[in-house]
């Protein structure tokens, strides 16, 4: 599981071996069922943790978030969202800088200054209205831009699923969270985290219901959604899309099956949505 950091330490083979051993112990050497996703070698273990998380969400997180939503007026919840969004802009700027996008970083920090002052401690997102767009960056994305391997998919208790790379990113995000140095009072810190998490979950109530209800297999739907979403975020919304599969003829996808090997390499972070996609290669011309 340390493979994600290995490119810089030069210990890749060792790290990989250690990671493999650690996970075999952890997972009882789970095998990939026939037809499983190669990115998800620990699927059977992950599914168990997923079920646990769903149970936790259903019994505790969702009821709290629902109560919170019903209790607080919409206006108040938007202020809470904006307050945390404003604090996050600091590290979003840092990550943009680390990804070599100083103009975006400058925009994020300008947002922070405007919203912290005119926007009354970030309660109002004045900057967005003024045309300074909110960005979405985190350390997981930064590691991806730096070329770190993504590693296998892991579902963590309470935290949910993500690649090894994003798991390390999450640890870095928490370690660097501005709330940690804004106050030294542990009670205030925990209070802020609690409010942040409840508000986030409340914001996602509708979306999660829709995603779950529309799925045949919730686990697969969530995992594939995660990969597609992260892929889009890493490319700041300009990700190369899977080649356009023309519908017409109402029948057959347009392109004749091309061997997967012919698919152009688009960088390590590029993943087709499933193995089948490789067949619908050649990537659209504008991507090449």
């Amino acid at each position: 599981m340390f493979a994600a950091f290995a490119p810089w330490t030069g210990l890749r083979p060792l790290a990989r071996a250690l990671g493999a051993v650690a996970f075999c112990l952890l997972a009882g050497c789970a095998t990939v069922p026939n037809g499983g996703d190669p990115r998800d070698p620990y699927e059977s273990w992950n599914r168990q943790v997923f079920e646990f998380n769903e149970g936790f969400d259903e019994a505790i997180a969702k009821p709290i978030a629902t109560g919170y939503r019903d209790l607080l007026p919409f206006e108040v919840r938007v202020r809470v969202r904006n307050f945390f969004s404003n604090i996050q802009d600091l590290m979003i700027g840092v990550n943009n800088l680390l990804q070599g996008k100083p103009a975006d970083a400058w925009s994020d920090w300008t947002r922070f200054v405007i919203n912290s002052t005119i926007g009354l401690f970030g309660l109002h997102d004045i900057a967005s209205e003024a045309g300074l767009e909110k960005h979405n960056e985190d350390f997981g994305q930064t590691f991806a831009v730096w070329g770190a391997e993504e590693g296998p998919y892991l579902v963590w208790p309470f935290l949910g699923g993500g690649t090894v790379r994003d798991s390390f990113g999450f640890v870095a995000d928490v370690a660097a969270a501005p709330t940690r140095w804004m106050t030294s009072d542990a009670a205030v810190q925990w209070g802020l985290w609690g409010l942040f998490l409840v508000n986030e979950r409340a914001d996602l109530l509708d979306a999660k219901t829709i995603l779950d209800e529309s799925a045949i297999d919730k686990y697969v739907a969530r995992r594939d959604f995660y990969y597609a979403r992260r892929h889009d975020l890493i490319f700041d919304g300009n990700a190369p899309r899977p080649p356009r599969e023309r519908p017409p003829g109402r029948d057959e996808p347009r392109s004749e099956a091309a061997p997967a090997d012919d698919a152009p390499a688009l960088g390590s972070v590029v993943r087709v949505q499933s193995q089948d996609d490789a067949v619908f290669a050649p990537v659209r011309e504008e991507l090449l």
Binding site: I210, E213, A221, R244, P247, P253, Q273
Partner: protein
């Protein structure tokens, strides 16, 4: 009398026919009009606001569905397995997939509150028959959410065959799930799973 009338009608249609292609609503305009009109109805309808699912579905079926090509969407979600399906299986798959999408995503149109829609100019040549229409949903304290509609030109106007929300295709996201079901129990197995799922959703809505 009727015969004369229909003859007249036919002439009138023939007269206007050459103009028809130019009269097709451009895809970006279509997306904008349908989105704004639907949201307008939603914001004024008390029953929809109160969460009347059947009423929402009725609105979506009348306003939105005519602009979607569900056979293309189903083919996209099926991937390679589409070629293995018989025409009967295809018809069933399209019907069930359509029902599932409408049932689950219709409720999404009531969840917009403080969002603003930004309709981006279309980046395509006038001769293109396959375009992507880009819309953005602006929300306070959040990164704008991209809604991308892949659309194709057909004899009956522009039809949407793929939707991306925040970079995730709502259609392609089904591919692994569909492929897994087909691998497990064949195309008929998948149809059965979808039928069961839709019946359950319908029962829950009541």
């Amino acid at each position: 009398m009727i015969r004369q009338f229909s003859a007249l009608l036919f002439c009138a249609m023939a007269l206007f026919a050459p103009r028809a292609p130019a009269d097709v609503t451009p895809p970006d305009e279509l997306v904008k009009t349908v989105t704004l009109e639907t949201l307008e109805i939603v914001s004024k309808d008390q029953e929809i606001q109160a969460g009347n699912v059947e009423r929402i579905i009725g609105l979506v079926e009348a306003k939105v569905l005519p602009h979607f090509s569900f056979d293309s969407m189903t083919a996209l979600a099926m991937g390679l397995n589409w070629r293995k399906a018989t025409p009967e299986q295809k018809a069933k798959l399209i019907e069930q997939f359509k029902t599932l999408l409408v049932r689950t995503y219709a409720s999404a149109i009531t969840s917009y509150r403080d969002e603003k829609f930004e309709f981006l100019p279309l980046r395509a040549k006038p001769t293109d028959t396959d375009v992507t229409v880009n819309v953005r949903v602006l929300k306070s304290g959040r990164q704008p959410i991209a809604l991308d509609y892949d659309m194709e030109k057909t004899a009956s106007g522009w039809k949407c065959y793929n939707v991306y929300v925040a970079g995730v295709s709502l259609v392609l996201n089904y591919r692994t799930e569909f492929a897994n079901e087909v691998r497990k129990s064949g195309i008929d197995g998948l149809i059965e799973v979808l039928e069961k799922k839709n019946k359950k959703l319908e029962a829950e809505a009541k």
